[in-house]
Symmetry: C2
Subunit: 345 residues, 2 copies
DNA sequence: TACTAAATTGCAAACGTTTACAACACTTTT
DNA sequence: AAAAGTGTTGTAAACGTTTGCAATTTAGTA
């Protein structure tokens, strides 16, 4: 109705009429593997391209009950870790013949539920879900029976769902050991945040590694929902106002670390001269010259493909099951961490 | 069929049977503004939530002929300018009651066409298209009659289509004037690239401003498709191998400039000490401390909302028309540009 | 040439909604 | 008490496909 320009789209019936066959034949000619005379098929193909026919996949989805569409719910595209991972997901999905619908939940439980409702309504064949809260699971639980779902970047070991995550507990341990190696004995963990198990595990890994090595774990908590550059900056500005009782900072996230870097720059604090700084995720901007942030790498591409594979498997199988996959993080040594600062340097 | 777990989804008919009414009544009860007895409506709502009913918007789209879905085609999410703009688009779209399907064209004409085919097939109500080539228009022309489309970040003044773009010609002029002000007389333009009118205009603006001010425009062309950090790095490495005949570099893109920065760092070239560097786009990472890239700002949020508004208007109107909107770029002074280097410094 | 098998095609139902229209049940009016 | 109106509900068609089944055509065989 709306938009008078295209009075009506060309449908399969138009093609049928023009080609002088029934529309069932057109349908068969268009989907390969169906018996149809080669000559009629050619004729139909010719008519299709002449009339500019684009098959209506909405109608197709309805009868087939599947859409070749996958939903991806991330807290925010505006987060390099997410967008890099999403990039790999999109790429891989296309290879497998799926399109993806990328949705932002904006770290809101309400939006997460709304998005599930939307995606289920659109008959997506499956969902890759990056939860933003520990309660996300409970919040969207009711949809899990309606659509195959794989949780990404979160640990739900006690829940009957499939998920992929990096071994975050091990990640921060790696970090502590690295700093220890550089001589640091007072390490501050920035951004402990119990919103997600992922962050809790990072903090726990830190705590554990400290205890194990006889260090007192130091924490500086975050009043922010999200780990943005801005949040990191604010936290660091606050933190730097106090006397310095640590020689290194471990940020729970690269973006947070980027904010710390900014605050340090403004305040004339040298990194790693005065303080060493370690991130987590290894977003691409951490590798930038001058930034050169040492960090814990999360295997983003692996996460994307593993998650996709799990999802496709769930979609294809007709029995109920769930599985977990934990990816191994690695340390990336760059120049934001140095030996503990000596006065005589 | 596939996936035995959800034997069948709850449909409107199930609700009708359970509530003891016809399914037309259920439909009416669910869409507001329809006449239906308040008591029956309550009953129906209760049944819906009890049975966990999620309306099937695929079926709905089919009968209504519209989907409340918008397509967005960008060359790559993995490009901060694109992902920042996409972020604003998604946000604004949601406010207007639309969902978006974000698709990567990977700078490929084939993918662009495929994506149009896909989106038209899915009955999206409109498309926001960031073309990656000058031929993109010709390539997808045939779809323009099938779906309302607005071109974004590209100039198509001679084509009968709607588009939004920044005044790129003016942008680089701004840059030249700024560098001139700092005393530079030998400015090198990096990444002239005639793939898009946008880039051509940037190069032309540069050329024009140089001529006007009696400078010889210097160019260093790009052998790359895309303006990635890596491309910038490669180009700069090549460039820095030659004797230096310029005092400032204008990169056609911030990401390119980031690559230059990396090469300079590796080669021990000081910025802005030895060379001044100016970017274009003002991606968020340009503002990072230590990076501090001077650049030309493209108003990304404005671009997003203007594009959306144009698209929604096109969708709503039933006459054929097209319009152009050109946004004004502004100079962002940071520390990657300095006065032309003096030996005695 | 007639008969059978194989290949091709058409018919019609189905997918889950929305909505014009008709039908019905109440009120209200006369 | 009948007529007219109002509010509510049901019936059925439509949206554009896919596909099982039956019908038809074509080719193959005796």
């Amino acid at each position: 109705m709306i938009g008078g320009k295209d009075s009506r789209r060309v449908t399969i019936k138009d093609i049928a009429r023009e080609a002088g066959v029934s529309y069932a034949t057109v349908s068969r000619a268009l989907s390969e593997g169906k018996p149809v005379n080669e000559k009629t098929r050619q004729k139909i193909l010719e008519v299709c391209s002449r009339m500019g026919y684009t098959p209506n996949s909405v109608a197709r989805s309805m009868v087939m009950g599947q859409s070749q569409l996958l939903g991806v719910i991330i807290p925010s595209i505006d987060n390099p870790f997410m967008s890099e991972t999403a990039y790999h997901i999109e790429r891989y999905a296309r290879e497998q013949g799926y399109s993806i619908m990328l949705c932002n939940s904006s770290h809101s439980l309400d939006f997460e539920a709304q998005t599930f409702e939307l995606l289920v309504g659109r008959q997506v064949d499956g969902i890759l879900f990056f939860p933003s809260h520990r309660e996300s699971y409970r919040n969207i639980k009711r949809y899990l029976t309606q659509v195959p779902t794989v949780f990404v970047n979160e640990h739900l070991s006690d829940k009957p769902v499939s998920y992929v995550a990096t071994d975050n507990f091990q990640g921060t341990q790696l970090g502590v050991e690295y700093l220890l190696e550089l001589g640091h004995r007072e390490i501050l963990y920035l951004g402990r945040d119990s919103n997600t198990a992922t962050h809790e595990l990072r903090a726990k890994g830190f705590d554990h590694a400290c205890q194990k090595n006889g260090l007192t774990p130091l924490f500086w908590d975050s009043p922010f929902e999200d780990t943005t550059i801005e949040a990191g900056y604010e936290m660091a500005m606050e933190l730097f106002r106090k006397p310095r009782y640590y020689t290194a900072i471990m940020a729970s996230t690269d973006t947070l670390a980027l904010g710390v870097l900014q605050a340090a720059e403004e305040l004339g604090i040298a990194i790693p001269g005065d303080i060493s700084l370690l991130g987590f995720d290894n977003i691409r901007y951490a590798a930038l010259p001058k930034i050169n942030l040492s960090t814990i790498e999360q295997p983003k591409q692996a996460m994307a493909t593993v998650a996709m594979d799990m999802l496709l498997e769930t979609i294809a199988s007709d029995y109920e099951a769930y599985s977990h996959r934990i990816l191994i993080p690695t340390l990336v040594r760059r120049s934001s961490c140095g030996p503990v600062s000596q006065p005589e340097r």
